[in-house]
């Protein structure tokens, strides 16, 4: 046991104090939502200290970007937040557009908004489904995944990929919407809200799930702000902050939508905020599809190789996990001098230790799931 602990990098003396037990969860554990290792100190079944160990998926994407041209970086950003590839595409492209002063045609902006709201649904379905699986309700996962598959079908019709879209490009999007796509999308947004009501009843109305989720991992609003938590994880605590409204970008000012807020900041509220965001996303998509007009989907006269003037740019968007920012520095060449990603998943994961203290080991899994980290983005 001691040797094993040493091999995993845990101080052996902690094991000898008697009362405390150190348990390693991960890096391969079905409930860690990827490759995260959590070192948990336990007193009986109660967590006294939990520390996430990250870096098991560090692929050096930021460094790789320095050796790619601006266009070649786009597929790399797909692999950051792989549950919501469109966001990273878009955040990166916005930074490039700001750096190079590119104006994006209106139709492309609308398409981007539609895609990203669909992506929000796809991503939240994954999160809600795994909340179900973490609390032992696998059937909720299957219902949620059914919805996700429908969104993935829509994406596939547009760009041919199910997961790594590479769709949003600097200056626009890569393909126009195919014939009949808008009707297909409308059919989905018509059926989706009722499916959400169903999942709400099935999962969040279930007495077992309520007991497993309510009062678990309470994050007070001040703590959420102090620790830089964003996205549904913060809105579950009642922090009324959403970049789509508060630092509005693209065509979001022209659509009308609400921002669901939680009250208690527990895993239950975080989950339900995600659920109702999906319904709001449907509203946004409907409005955007009604407003969309014919036109070009790519900025005119873009050079094959972008070489922005030396300078730096930062831009951020509201991803399914929070505010996702990309910082780019250009030295005037065709490759970025430096790219940095402000990853919401990383920031949100940092509160895990704070939230898990005093809860049982089985609740730790629920708390981790409710923060919805994606390790491609945490480790980058």
């Amino acid at each position: 046991m001691t040797g094993q602990a040493e091999a995993c990098g845990v101080d052996a003396h902690l094991l000898q104090t008697g009362d405390e037990l150190v348990v390693n969860i991960g890096p391969s554990h079905p409930s860690t939502h990827g490759v995260c290792r959590v070192i948990v100190h336990l007193d009986g079944e109660i967590v006294t200290h939990a520390e996430p160990v990250i870096g098991h998926l560090h692929r050096g994407i930021e460094k790789m970007a320095e050796n790619r041209t601006y266009l070649q970086v786009v597929p790399l950003t797909d692999r950051l937040d792989y549950v919501g590839s469109m966001y990273a595409n878009w955040a990166y492209c916005r930074a490039v557009e700001r750096l190079a002063g590119i104006r994006v045609p209106e139709r492309a902006e609308y398409i981007r908004v539609v895609m990203c709201e669909l992506q929000r649904i796809a991503s939240h379905m994954m999160s809600i489904g795994s909340t179900g699986a973490d609390t032992g309700a696998t059937s909720a996962f299957i219902y949620a995944f059914n919805q996700r598959e429908q969104v993935v079908d829509l994406f596939e019709a547009v760009c041919g990929a199910r997961l790594t879209y590479n769709y949003v490009r600097p200056g626009g999007v890569s393909f126009d919407l195919p014939d009949g796509w808008i009707e297909q999308c409308r059919a989905f947004t018509r059926s989706h809200p009722s499916a959400m009501v169903e999942i709400d009843k099935l999962l969040f109305g279930n007495v077992i799930a309520r007991q497993r989720l309510k009062g678990i991992g309470v994050l007070p609003a001040e703590e959420a702000i102090a620790r830089g938590v964003t996205g549904p994880a913060a809105r579950g605590s009642g922090v009324d902050w959403d970049l789509r409204r508060d630092d509005s970008y693209s065509v979001y000012p022209r659509v009308d939508f609400e921002i669901p807020l939680g009250e208690n900041g527990d895993a239950y509220d975080r989950g339900r905020v995600r659920l109702w965001e999906c319904v709001e996303s449907c509203r946004i998509i409907d409005q955007a599809l009604a407003q969309i007009e014919e036109g070009p989907i790519k900025a005119e006269g873009l050079p094959r190789l972008l070489a922005p003037r030396p300078g730096e740019a930062y831009d951020h968007i509201e991803s399914a996990r929070g505010s996702l920012g990309v910082y780019l520095v250009s030295d005037g060449s065709v490759r970025p001098y430096r790219m940095h990603v402000r990853s919401p998943a990383f920031q949100n994961l940092s509160v895990l230790g704070y939230l898990a203290e005093g809860h049982t080991l089985s609740d730790l899994v629920v708390i981790l799931g409710s923060l919805d980290p994606v390790f491609g983005e945490v480790d980058r």
């Binding site: 890096p27 391969s28 554990h29 079905p30 990827g34 490759v35 870096g55 098991h56 998926l57 560090h58 692929r59 050096g60 994407i61 460094k63 790789m64 050796n67 790619r68 597929p75 790399l76 797909d78 692999r79 792989y82 549950v83 994954m126 996962f141 299957i142 995944f145 059914n146 598959e149 993935v152 199910r162 997961l163 790594t164 390790f375 491609g376």
Partner: protein, 197 residues
Amino acid sequence: MALVDDLGRALERTPGGGIILTSLDAVMDWSRGHSLWSMPMGTACCAMELIAASFARFDFDRHGTIPRADPRHADVMVVAGTITRKMAPAVKRLYEQMPDPKWVIAMGNCAVSGGIFYYDTYSVVRGVDEFLPVDVYIAGCPPRPESLQDAVLRLREKIRAESIAPGRSRPAKLVLPSPTDPRAGGVATADDGSGEG
């Protein structure tokens, strides 16, 4: 496994044992091939398709492939995703914890060769076959869930050629797709017998 090995060896030596061995092999390979419980070693993006494969639309269970997160319950490890240098020891250890006979499917370009992360990065292992014996490779970034199911069927074909007697292979057909077969582009079977337990 040792017991089965001994039995195989003993049967091979016994006069007339070959007939029993062949029938036994047929039963063993049939049962092994049709309940390949998988250890989903999903590390990155490909894990999403791995999950999708086991849900309603693609329904992996109908091939007898049930995901088991515990290596001790698993027959085949599906490595789906990028393996970094930090992760590789854990993957190797999990593979070692799996009971024999065991097989490995490398799903996605990252697990096959490092994929998009082959160049310019300092932290990615260039293919899981650097430290694990891979039986079936699936190309794609990410491969579709159907490719994964195809890989399981191909693995089943490969298992059908295995014998319980160590070092003996059965004269079963190992069907490689013809160049006109649409499958030819997607999946290649490694016929080096490295998965033999």
